[in-house]
Symmetry: C2
Subunit: 458 residues, 2 copies
């Protein structure tokens, strides 16, 4: 955009939105990518949208000026999704934080995109319902839908793709659409809901969501279980899934991650490949699940499975898991974390994780491996010195290899973090000409490439 | 298409495909719509495709001639999806009936589109796995994906949208793409898998699918339960879902349907609103579920819930449910059945079903009501004399009202049968400008409107 046009645009935003709009550099920097060593590329201004009309007005102005728009939730995405490499206006939706209706009888809730998952669960506290998707960060639900987020509970409750009933979206030309009704099932035309889920803001800005919520389980039980090898742990995972045990969480931590967690959370777990497991259901049902899992684990040579339904014991357990990221940082305090993401069919998981561990050793990189292994999804948390060009080079080569390894095993280069800026080359390797179909859709719905440009594809 | 062009096209198909291609009128008629009183509109020729290369070759010829293509599975769709109102070539995929790989450890199967759901379950018989989606008809899995089919098991296992991992599709211009990897989770770009599911063949022809399959439950138990009123039955449904009881089937039959089933299947069920219920799980778990459901039903004034895990008793029960369609036909043997389809949030279900029953009475139409009520989805099975113009008019007015009623209750005009030719006006009423977004996508992927034209939108 020419500088005179940009000035006119900024001026228009200032006149229209007053103090809801800012060009302050600190704020602009905070609204770009801040999570990893990917560069921080701020927008030219940030609009704090308070309602859908403000979003529509902003989109209309940007459409007129042919100016990029970057939707922003809480900024916890990991692949540069909120960067503004071509400048433009960041639309911060965090003030659109109202829960509009709790549809108690329908197990659903309609809300604005800035509501975070923790705020939603707080609002549901007295209803007997809860929202299970938990990507770790207290992300906004608009952002979680945009990036098709998932996390630890996905093995039982699915990912964002499984819990969104409909979306209200502002398109690049300012039109406001609703993608579906509030019915649980629909065969009414193309599935626009799923088209927008995971589109990373490149097709429109979400202004309202209706989400499924779930009956809170009567009881929650869980525990940890150490295995002789990653292969044994993965085999236990496969047998658990295949036996139809409706496990709600099934997380793998490698020995280095266990060491880090022990240090950080002052625990004394054996430094072995370890599964963190959780069950939801009635008291008798969780007991039965836990016993079935214990038998499977024993068959794979695991140490005795210790489990409990005591709330504070469970809290400590999952706190250790959730703090894995911080624990890993302690392994190399001056470094910055970069969390990679791959997902393969579970039959290939052991092989993929073992090859990755070997690769890390050969590359002399410091990294832990944790995984939502019930879904075949795992992360490598690399501790990187961002000032060491040689190390960055090594990390980039490693990241290329992990993506290619996952793809060669019929998996994906990203199970939950998305493509953003970081994984565009791998998307093409994974899906080939299907990417051209995505581009045709992008071109049809956003012909001037205004919606979060240079994300997913450039 | 001009008649000389059409002759040249037919000639090309005959030369290329020999006896795999036919212009026989009987066969062409059988390959168009035969299920309801919608008109039968045959294609100009039928190709029995035996592999993906034949599909690609056929699409390339049609693309060159700008000739419509109509994908065909088993012809069990209910809204005219396989009609050829503009002529063209029907691509019958029923000979593409190979199961390519059973991924036992991954609980998945890769297969060709002509495999039927019953054939798949036969192939899985010795694996401990099964495929749950059951729309009644023994439909092909390609067709079921194309129409986003569901049916009785959807309340626990979801619909086709929940069980397809990826699709291989031939696009209108002959390109072959795969929509996703085989990983259970993915955040890799736009969700093309869900775009093709439910697109009713208007965006491409499915040549391969990878589907989730499930561990066969240790035990299945079920039974029937008669309620004083539809409202009571629906309240029991809501409470069952809200209590988190993982019921696998939850079907409502109205008193007239029960009478018909009694006559047809020689049963003696009380002629009252009745729920057919099924539970999957371990022996203790199904017992617990059945007892929980019995307590809920009792609270709603139901007669005592009789349940069993005896296989032959269950078979008889579900045979009666599956034969509901034929039983209804006995109510008016000379008439033709037309099954409507609506889906609302379950909180509105009782109201919607009761208003619909009243509407039927006022319209003096003979019809039963059955529903996959755990999902808020119900059908009205109308017995219509297709030669009575006045009656057809009444039926059409009734169908308009049921769609509008569902839409006004935040539901959809179709939970599982799709839009086809029959529901295009209601799609627009339901989703407004979102339909223009669908049209933009259609235009982007199929600019000459060759793929199943005049379906979903005209």
């Amino acid at each position: 955009m020419e500088s005179s046009t940009k000035s006119a645009l900024i001026n228009t935003f200032q006149q229209q939105f007053g103090d809801k709009f800012t060009t302050n550099l600190t704020l602009r920097t905070q609204h770009a990518h801040t999570q990893t060593w990917l560069p921080n590329q701020p927008a030219d201004g940030v609009l704090f949208a308070e309602n859908k009309q403000m979003v529509i007005d902003a989109v209309n102005i940007c459409h007129e000026y042919r100016c990029p728009l970057i939707p922003f939730g809480t900024g916890s995405s990991l692949e540069g999704q909120v960067n503004a490499p071509q400048g433009g206006i960041c639309i911060d939706t965090s003030r659109m934080d109202q829960i509009i209706t709790i549809h108690q009888d329908d197990l659903a809730v309609t809300l604005q995109p800035g509501v975070t998952r923790e705020a939603l669960n707080t609002a549901l506290r007295h209803t007997g319902l809860f929202f299970p998707i938990d990507p770790g960060a207290n992300a906004s639900l608009g952002g979680m839908a945009s990036t098709r987020a998932s996390g630890t509970n996905a093995v039982l409750y699915g990912t964002m793709k499984d819990v969104v009933l409909n979306l209200e979206v502002v398109l690049a030309d300012g039109r406001l659409i609703r993608t579906a009704s509030r019915a649980k099932k629909s065969a009414a035309g193309y599935d626009l809901t799923h088209l927008f889920i995971g589109s990373e803001g490149t097709l429109g800005i979400i202004t309202e969501l209706t989400l499924k919520v779930f009956a809170r389980p009567e009881q929650v039980a869980g525990g940890v279980c150490a295995f002789p090898s990653i292969l044994d742990a993965c085999n236990a995972v496969i047998m658990t899934i295949q036996s139809g045990i409706p496990v709600s969480r099934l997380e793998l931590l490698d020995p280095l991650q266990i060491r880090a967690c022990n240090q950080y959370s002052k625990l004394a777990m054996p430094e072995k490949p370890t599964l963190f497991v959780e069950f939801h259901g009635s008291a008798t049902h969780v007991k039965q699940q836990a016993e079935q899992f214990a038998a499977i684990a024993e068959e794979q040579g695991a140490e005795p499975f210790q489990w409990s339904s005591d709330e504070s014991a469970l809290k400590q357990l999952w706190k250790a898991r959730h703090n894995a990221y911080f624990a890993t940082q302690l392994l190399r305090p001056q470094a910055q974390a970069y969390v990679s993401d791959a997902c393969v069919p579970i039959s290939r998981l052991a092989e993929c994780v073992e090859q990755t561990r070997l690769d890390l050793e050969e590359s002399q990189l410091i990294a832990t491996i944790v995984g939502h292994v019930g879904d075949g999804n795992f992360h490598v948390c690399l501790m990187v010195d961002p000032k060491d060009a040689h190390e960055i080079e090594c990390v980039e080569a490693f990241l290329a290899r992990i993506s290619e390894r996952a793809i060669s095993m019929e998996g994906t280069c990203t199970g939950e973090h998305g493509i953003g800026q970081g994984k565009q080359a791998y998307l093409r390797k994974e899906l080939g000409e299907a990417v051209d179909v995505m581009l045709s859709i992008k071109q049809a719905l956003d012909p001037y490439n205004l919606m979060n440009p240079a994300k997913i594809f450039s």
